[in-house]
Symmetry: C2
Subunit: 337 residues, 2 copies
Amino acid sequence: MQKKIGRQTMRLSRPPAIVASACIGGKQEQEGPLAGWFDELSGDGFFGEKTWEKAESAMQKRALSRALEKGKLAPGDIDFVFAGDLLNQCIGSSFSLRHFGIPFYGLYGACSTMGEGLSLAALLLDGGFGVTAAAMTSSHFCTAERQYRMPVPYGSQRTPTAQWTATAAGCTILQAGGKGPAVTHVTCGKIVDKGITDANNMGAAMAPAAYDTLSAFFQDTGTGPDDYDLIATGDLGQLGHEILCDLFAGDGVTLGDNCTDCGLLLYDRQNQDMHCGGSGCGCSASVFNGYLLAQMREKGWKKLLFAPTGALLSPTSSFQGESIPGICHAVLIEAQS
Amino acid sequence: MQKKIGRQTMRLSRPPAIVASACIGGKQEQEGPLAGWFDELSGDGFFGEKTWEKAESAMQKRALSRALEKGKLAPGDIDFVFAGDLLNQCIGSSFSLRHFGIPFYGLYGACSTMGEGLSLAALLLDGGFGVTAAAMTSSHFCTAERQYRMPVPYGSQRTPTAQWTATAAGCTILQAGGKGPAVTHVTCGKIVDKGITDANNMGAAMAPAAYDTLSAFFQDTGTGPDDYDLIATGDLGQLGHEILCDLFAGDGVTLGDNCTDCGLLLYDRQNQDMHCGGSGCGCSASVFNGYLLAQMREKGWKKLLFAPTGALLSPTSSFQGESIPGICHAVLIEAQS
């Protein structure tokens, strides 16, 4: 069987199954419409720790621990874990994983990390390099604001195009030969940079990457948007989602009601004042590992196309006048009959 | 064939070959003993750019371009590239790859990145997901000093245990069924944290991780240090290398003259005043892609065990009193007869 189909897409020959998943969230997530799908929610955002960075690390620890419990697995059962986050040097991931003793490959894919981790975990299992693997990521509103923008107590005004970084973590456990929805295709994204320089408009910066990866996926697989029960991009938010629809419309392709964005799902944008919606690695990670996988089971969906997007900028690159490179990694999850 | 052997090691069934490699360096590298093995050296460290961060990105661009040239390949021939670096949000990698149009998986493994990228590229090729892949990383003395310590013009005193972050980049191109030394085994590291908190003593923080991964490799493969022409750890430097030897001595295992460290090779420590030696992702990446692969060819080595180490700290984690988690990813390169 040809595993590589087209330039960017890989078809798995023995699709590993999602045997467990977990998600953890904070205060805004607790007040949002998806609260019921979280495994744990912390009202104060500190998760029992003294700093926000340690809290973010604690979230990943809890997400992995809960996923292991739900899958009736021990850390020693996990062949390898892929994890990363938005913090400088990805300390959310490395400090959370310190005491688990699981072989670890660290990632940096910004808000595309959940898609990147799922992709690589699935590919290695399909390649026969292990039986069970985990993929994990997180973000925290307060660590992200402090690092990318201003410390929260400064009370910065947010622009209308701004999105709200989720305080959330998600973890997926995949198993070769396991029972559950399986990862059947993976599309590796290319960096796309259309010259957007406004760091408060990530949706616009990332939409062309989502368009690029989804177009490649449709072309490589010979399918179209209507072939999927749901297409969920990462954190494009309202404006980015509209741009994505416009880009496809230019090709004569209509993205219908079966295409949404995790940043549009996590919060009640009217009543929670979230401007363009949610963002951050933890947004798509928690929406996927909670709500989306549950919907897939409950509604009997056959095919879920999950395509988180990341903006690969840093405060330094923006200070130096650089535009914002985007990337999107897509993963097709299919129900096993 | 069983691909997973032991807890951490994977044996490749169709080992992909290293068909091309390239390395780029700056002023100190130009004045060091390995200068002759670099493809390009820039005396001013700016590589034609206006900022150090852009210079670091330019180094990766040059490393990939030179490796492609040497392998007579075009960007469109590369199925995927794995890259990462030390800069916040890994902008050295993402900005360098913006214009190549190669499917990209971003990594964060600190100074273990060359080992991590080689591992994952080899595993995906062995899994049949592509034919040709690249792994790449970089570091830059001035970007690292500014980000982790003090801006260079401040003129900080360096401690005796300090290492010198290399201004260098390295790129390896692997090909399934290609000619050249091949990646036959990969050992995925676990995070090891023995409580070292001195961010100026990275060697001590990372040595236990090197010990852990190399021990796992020897155990999983049923071999010992004497079975290899050379074992080259990443950037432990003088002190870390001594600690590694001590840790093995505690098990009754002697690491002999065939065990060295890339941080001990890159500079003339007596005359270049490099204290404990070189460090940074670019150190092991340039030593491996230049000097070590050349030695392997020229000296007819059969087996080179390359084991770069990373310290997964950030300035924020150190400010918050945290110790330094280390990781080491090992890759066995064998000559193909």
